[in-house]
């Protein structure tokens, strides 16, 4: 009982942790409150769902979902950079449009994968005999999450990644480096939403279901994990922020599971999430001095 509960927390924590790393890019690195996430997570589910129900390769479905998320994220960036729409609104627009897109991709509001459909989990379960079968999904999820984390860590150390890190911190510096900060923002939003959709695709294969409304609250969940990850785990110097964000999501999922086990009604979770979120934010403001004060162009 306890064992399967912990496995469930870890499975969900790592899946949503991939999403949270995307939120980390937009919220922390780009300083862009990106609400597209509530649309790109189910976009990943939708793309993956359709491909798997057409008996396509489930690993390829993960890649395709990532690409779809990248495109959606680029739209958010283009709305902001080229059409000069406010950042918060850009995400809302993408999210709203994606609701219809996601519905259109699957063709209905909700559906389940057939019993015989092949997922990354059904492909790998034979490697886990006996009791270890309990851990088969978790193992696959961890591999994907860790691989995503290392890919992101690697990217952040490339020249392109250096620009991404500077643009949120000091846009003026990027200009003096003769680079268009707008383009870099678009790239950042693209990668971020690619990760979110990838998480959606893994979730699709994990839950074997599509629901057009399943994205609601994703971004808040991601933000909570990022804040836990960047404040609580920041003290541990040896650990990269991305690791902190993954762990942040696990802590978050654990809190929710415990609350549910303690008798919280599932319809009340959103309310509790919001309260928890605000408390975390307030604590965050209280303990962390405002960083990057006064970095503006041409002060």
């Amino acid at each position: 009982m306890i064992e399967s509960m912990i496995i469930g927390i870890l499975e969900q924590g790592f899946i949503y942790g991939i999403m949270a790393m995307g939120v980390y890019i937009t919220y922390t690195i780009l300083d862009f409150p990106d609400l597209s996430v509530d649309g790109t997570f189910p976009l990943g589910i939708a793309v993956c769902f359709v491909m798997i129900s057409h008996a396509m390769d489930p690993w390829l479905a993960l890649l395709a979902a990532f690409a779809a998320g990248c495109i959606a994220g680029a739209f958010t960036g283009i709305f902001n950079v080229k059409l000069r729409i406010r950042n918060l609104l850009c995400g809302i627009l993408t999210m709203t449009a994606l609701y219809s897109v996601n519905y259109g991709i699957v063709g209905k509001a909700s559906d389940f994968l057939g019993m015989d459909s092949v997922t990354i989990f059904s492909m790998t379960e034979r490697f886990f005999p006996g009791h270890s079968a309990l851990y088969s999904k978790l193992a696959v999820i961890i591999v994907i999450a860790i691989a995503s984390k290392f890919a992101l860590d690697w990217y952040m150390r490339t020249k392109s990644g250096f620009l991404l890190r500077s643009v949120g911190d000091n846009e003026g510096l990027v200009i003096t480096l003769a680079k268009n900060p707008g383009t870099i923002k678009i790239i950042g939003l693209s990668i971020a939403n690619g990760l979110v959709a990838l998480a959606g695709a893994v979730y699709c294969q994990y839950s074997r279901a599509f629901n057009v409304g399943s994205g609601t609250g994703t971004v808040v969940m991601g933000l909570a994990a990022v804040i836990i990850g960047t404040t609580v785990f920041r003290k541990l110097k040896f650990m990269r922020v991305t690791t902190g964000v993954l762990l942040g999501m696990i802590v978050y999922k654990a809190c929710i599971s415990i609350a549910l086990a303690a008798g919280l009604r599932s319809q009340d979770t959103n309310f509790m999430i919001t309260v928890l979120f605000i408390v975390t934010l307030v604590i965050n403001e209280f303990f962390v001095k405002k960083k990057k004060a006064g970095v503006k162009r041409n002060g």
């Binding site: 150390r157 020249k159 960083k291 990057k292 002060g299």
Partner: protein, 259 residues
């Protein structure tokens, strides 16, 4: 090298806050000149630099760089040829990146920022030698975040970054004003050294009259969007701080405002 020709600039046009700053403003800076710009607050020094760098647009007139009109060229494209250091030390560096990372991106200016490794390992010793010259002990702190440095250290780093890939033109906007006197002197000396060594045409706005007299090859004084004094060569050598102060005071009496 760089020229503003009959430039007009009005802020908040058509509102009660309308402010005509430049009306047919012209200035021409030759290759190799190191121009010190002084002038009262609000005289248009920063706006002049903004117009050259492309972060402010003109309402009329021409901006020329190397003889070509660049009125329509975006700021980040102009930056390929123009380096810039601002008054606030935070603006020239990325606070969440280390000294080494900052130097590496600055060193890559003008080249593609692709998926190769960001840190420049080959040039580490060169960066050390550049930092050593400052005498600030930064050469042993390559892995320190720029955000953790003092204002003077950050500004020195910003200056090195702005000139690591030699720009044709360097714009300095009161880049020592936010520093304590000792740090200001170090940064000013570094500026002089870099500008001379790399032969960079430079335009330096300064609040410090001593710097305007001791450094550079030409001094310009601005007031209310106009150039009221422009000296170089022997004439400049013969002008000392007291002479500049006298002109300041005369203008102030005339116009009824202060330095």
């Amino acid at each position: 090298m760089v020229e503003l020709s009959a430039v007009d600039k009005t802020f908040n046009q058509g509102t009660i806050d309308e402010k005509v700053l430049f009306d047919g403003f012209s200035i021409k800076i030759e290759q190799g000149e190191f121009v010190a710009v002084i002038g009262s607050n609000g005289s248009g020094k920063t706006t002049m630099l903004n117009i050259i760098s492309g972060s402010a647009a003109v309402d009329g007139g021409k901006v020329l760089l190397g003889g070509t009109e660049i009125n329509g060229m975006k700021d980040y494209k102009r930056a390929l040829r123009i380096g810039r250091v601002f008054q606030a030390p935070a603006m020239g560096t990325c606070s969440s990146m280390t000294i080494w990372e900052n130097l590496s991106i600055a060193d890559n200016k003008g080249r593609p920022f692709g998926l190769s490794f960001g840190l420049n390992r080959k040039r580490k010793d060169f960066y050390r030698s550049q930092l050593e010259f400052l005498g600030m002990g930064l050469e042993n702190r390559l892995d320190t975040l720029a955000g953790a440095l003092s204002g003077g250290q950050r500004q020195a780093l910003a200056l090195i970054m702005a000139t690591l890939v030699r720009p044709e033109l360097l714009l300095l906007d009161e880049h020592t004003a936010a520093l304590d006197p000792k740090a200001a002197d170090i940064v000013m000396e570094l500026t002089d050294k870099v500008v001379k060594e790399k032969k960079i045409t430079s335009l330096m706005v300064t609040h410090n009259l001593r710097y305007a007299v001791e450094y550079g090859t030409r001094t310009i004084m601005m007031h209310e969007g106009k150039i009221v004094l422009d000296v170089s060569g022997q004439e400049r050598t013969d002008t000392d701080i007291d002479d500049y102060l006298k002109i300041f005071n005369e203008i102030s009496l005339e116009k009824g405002n202060s330095l």
